[in-house]
Symmetry: C2
Subunit: 417 residues, 2 copies
Amino acid sequence: MAFSEFKPLDEKSLIEYIKSVPSLSSKLGSNLDKVSIKEVGDGNLNFVYIILGPAGSLVIKQALPYIRCIGESWPMTRERAYFEALALREHGQFSPEHVPEVYHFDRTMSLIGMRYLEPPHIILRKGLIAGIEYPFLAEHMSEYMARTLYFTSLLYRTTMDHKHAVAKFCGNVELCRLTEQVVFSDPYKVSEYNRWTSPYLDGDAEAVREDNILKIEVAELKSKFCERAQALVHGDLHTGSIMVTHESTQVIDPEFAFYGPMGFDIGAFLGNLILAFFAQDGHADQVNDRKTYKEWILRTFEEVWNLFHKKFIALWDEHKDASGEAYLPAIYNNPEVQQLAQKKFMEDLLHDTLGFGAAKMIRRIVGVAHVEDFESITDARKRADCEHRALEVAKMLLKERRNFQDITEVVSAIKKL
Amino acid sequence: MAFSEFKPLDEKSLIEYIKSVPSLSSKLGSNLDKVSIKEVGDGNLNFVYIILGPAGSLVIKQALPYIRCIGESWPMTRERAYFEALALREHGQFSPEHVPEVYHFDRTMSLIGMRYLEPPHIILRKGLIAGIEYPFLAEHMSEYMARTLYFTSLLYRTTMDHKHAVAKFCGNVELCRLTEQVVFSDPYKVSEYNRWTSPYLDGDAEAVREDNILKIEVAELKSKFCERAQALVHGDLHTGSIMVTHESTQVIDPEFAFYGPMGFDIGAFLGNLILAFFAQDGHADQVNDRKTYKEWILRTFEEVWNLFHKKFIALWDEHKDASGEAYLPAIYNNPEVQQLAQKKFMEDLLHDTLGFGAAKMIRRIVGVAHVEDFESITDARKRADCEHRALEVAKMLLKERRNFQDITEVVSAIKKL
Ligand SMILES: Nc1ncnc2c1ncn2[C@@H]1O[C@H](COP(=O)(O)OP(=O)(O)O)[C@@H](O)[C@H]1O
Ligand SMILES: Nc1ncnc2c1ncn2[C@@H]1O[C@H](COP(=O)(O)OP(=O)(O)O)[C@@H](O)[C@H]1O
Ligand SMILES: [Mg+2]
Ligand SMILES: [Mg+2]
Ligand SMILES: [Mg+2]
Ligand SMILES: [Mg+2]
Ligand SMILES: [Mg+2]
């Protein structure tokens, strides 16, 4: 067999590979010489090929043993592809409308074959920069998050199943470690990897590194990230891991998946919406001042949480007599105690969400990996201004998250700052 | 080989077994026909044999595929012996003076050979019932807990090592599940397993089952127990898992070990001290009113926490520049932030400890497994009276744990009730 050991593919060997795998070649049609291949990996870590055949299409994603955007100097286990495939399948089972189907997985080759999200699908972040409204975004993302998080938690699962799954995903430790470093550590210390819009934000970056209260709160979030196996989280749920059209919302790239705190996913998505919000002033021009669009973002932000809340509670109510071992019906046996339990759970989850969301914002402004929302603002002073305001909001949310009782209060606070 | 598959041993086959294992037989001396064997398993789950030879001694503990005190009707994996052996070795490495040495482990036979804790070692619970003061108990137990918990947490470990160890102990899920049921579930619902001193405590048991606030707080503790992999906890650290003499303190029986919240161990020990405290009035007689002894227990209770606090912080300070990934020295880089971090950590840990300790108290009064401290009070009315007061304290501690800033306040509250 030609692919019995790992080998990075190029466009030529890719065709050979596809020919050797019926579940892939069958998607494309009979004449494989008519196939076109394009590498589109605009992501940071991996190689992604779009393959168009006479009768169909697919995407091949391959992990190499290092981080693509940095190079071989930053090694990273290829096993991330295994966890990505596991998570795509697991989340896909619970939210099939919002996760691309996996056609094939090859652990030796660290290679996933999956549905091609055909045009006009684009990366949500790019849509947000272009000022496009997605009327179903809040509906779809709240659905995806409610279902993937609920069904992989102890609210639905037995202890047996949960611990078994937790153990399996402990194997994705290298990717968890990377998150720990770039989200919870580097931004709060002097690090060769950090960067920011200099000189404008030199003082802001230093202030982050010298804010004792902020650092104490980040320690708590980091410990939750490392220790709390609440649900199978995507682990990298920013607006660059979501592909959209007007009608469709698809979550890709769960290579950081592991059993972690639910708020880490919800926060990643909501935090990136706030980043998009603060970037809008940098994209405003005489044709479009982006005011209406900013309102749409904030409305979407609010709706995501409210719809998530509603859907999550609905799942909880619907399955409360099922196999989940967290809240046994014989104990939580009256409407008052059920409501109290759900209220406390959702309030704690909101606080986690705000904390993790804020941490994800901060790291995108003073850490190693920045976001195109800001990077595409060419005027550095203008960009710094947008980033500065986002950073102030993030610091406030991180430190004062426990004072917010619902998402409306958060929106007001964002508007005020 | 005679023991190539699992077989429950009796006194005769045990000798054959020992003869076939040099690391065991060598402990006893050359003439193995002069050996005496006594089964002493007063515990609930397993068989324990003391083997005395002409030149030495040892203990053999064997797990059968069910719970001993209930019988074959309650099956329980023999793999608990594997996790017990792992934990004895792991904890023994960090606190060798307080954990018996493991001579031999046989996974097929679910059998551990370990040091015999020779007389006058007795089970601490029996010593507490007899009214015996142990001057080094607080010192030793705080040392054991500080070291085993610190060194197996992310304060000392790398993420890599931590996740690897967490995954391994996820295998002990059946024992975790048992704790979930008997500690966090059964006492709060109608269950065939529950019992209490009836009829005196009928109302108390019902009040526990109908206390919505209590049940909400227990849900939070249960979720921490299930989800938070903070350190390798013993998992069953009551006063029946500790053997003592005046000078020696030895922790046995960690078959429930897993990566869980530190407060679960500290709470188990401290909660059982409070149970012993409230049982004293039932043991008072004309010769000894137990007043002085009650003071010693409370003093020990207070000292355990204070010494634990001191030792834990000392380990943290000593190793703060080592490999632990929770608080990187480049971030927690000034005395003020270090102190803030430690203060917050220890306060949260105190609250966890009080919550778990209280839950362990409650389950011993209205759940399936009771404690000899109370059971040995033959006058049921007197016993109920002791149990009632312990239960009131436990409910208060569980619900109001977050209002306590230090252990002195807890002692005052116990004295008041
Ligand atoms: N299933 C797919 N359909 C269409 N495009 C895709 C698909 N998967 C990935 N892509 C494209 O490839 C890019 C990188 O993919 P991604 O999974 O995010 O890789 P990385 O892990 O390197 O970030 C995406 O931003 C998107 O443009
Ligand atoms: N190493 C030992 N030395 C002396 N006695 C022991 C030793 N281990 C256990 N025992 C005795 O056996 C009893 C039961 O042991 P334990 O490990 O608690 O078993 P179980 O898991 O069944 O509770 C203990 O209460 C103690 O009296
Ligand atoms: Mg990506
Ligand atoms: Mg839908
Ligand atoms: Mg990726
Ligand atoms: Mg025991
Ligand atoms: Mg035991």
